[in-house]
Symmetry: C2
DNA sequence: CTCGTGATGTTATCTCATAACACACCATCA
DNA sequence: TGATGGTGTGTTATGAGATAACATCACGAG
């Protein structure tokens, strides 16, 4: 997966660790604030560059509709290629679940009909989770 | 579609008009800059509020991955309900096509399995359009 | 006419993200 | 072993995207 010469360095590992600890989508500036083990914040480019790296390797995803980042819960975390991501996002409490994307093939087919070749697809489904519906 | 008491007022009409004129995704601050017929810019909340209204009625979509807005090219422009949106986005030239989303039912089913009820789904597929592939 | 809801105008500020440059690390190959 | 080139990091500064809060206005219902 990684291009030759790419390394899992300390800041990248640190950002991945923060994403994994959290388990839910995290804002970039939350990562920046929590970056230093000693409570020291990082500079924004440090974290954004790590996020770009992790996303490129399929170990993290950006959820654009809420401007947040999350560790990949699928097979990519184990070293497979970057993959299509699909998320269920609760608009009430923010709880987010990554699910299997529905039929990447149909998107590719529709794209081919329009002349496009697709590299990455993100599906973001907003609604309410069970707990928030029950809470009214 | 519209809630009782909601009106298509002048600023909303103006923003929709700008979106329709453009035909491609437009940045919010481009709308702000072009808002006045006389070249006067609008204040950000004017345009953001109009965009929120248009999106709520299914007449426009936000494409979060590129922070842009586009008039809906589907049936919603004619007055149907807000609908799932799917976009093909060229990472090279920015050309964007709205396509029929693949099987909203399968997303709803997957969401139900996780306890979620989905209100809005956006699919954003990034890749290259035909022209950009041919251009190398 | 008056009241309530929805819409607008305005100021200020907040959050998100990247450009640009200098320097450090590390494998490799002469 | 030391020159080299790609990759990564640190730092400063700034650009871009979006919203909070509050005052005022427009309009339809009663």
């Amino acid at each position: 997966m990684a291009e030759a010469g790419e390394r899992m360095t300390a800041p990248r590992r640190r950002v991945l660790s923060l994403l994994l600890e959290t388990g839910e989508p995290v804002k970039a500036y939350d990562l920046i604030a929590r970056f230093g083990e000693d409570g020291q914040a990082a500079k924004p480019p440090t974290v954004y560059r790590a996020l770009e790296f992790l996303e490129r390797l399929g170990m993290a995803h950006r959820i654009a509709s809420i401007s947040a980042y999350v560790a990949c819960s699928g097979s990519a975390a184990n070293g497979s290629a970057p993959h299509a991501a699909a998320f269920l996002i609760c608009d009430c409490c923010g709880a987010t679940r990554e699910i299997a994307g529905p039929d990447q093939g149909s998107i590719d087919a529709a794209a081919a009909g329009a002349g496009y070749v697709i590299a990455r697809t993100t599906i973001e489904a907003h609604g309410l989770c069970l707990a928030c519906r029950e809470a009214g």
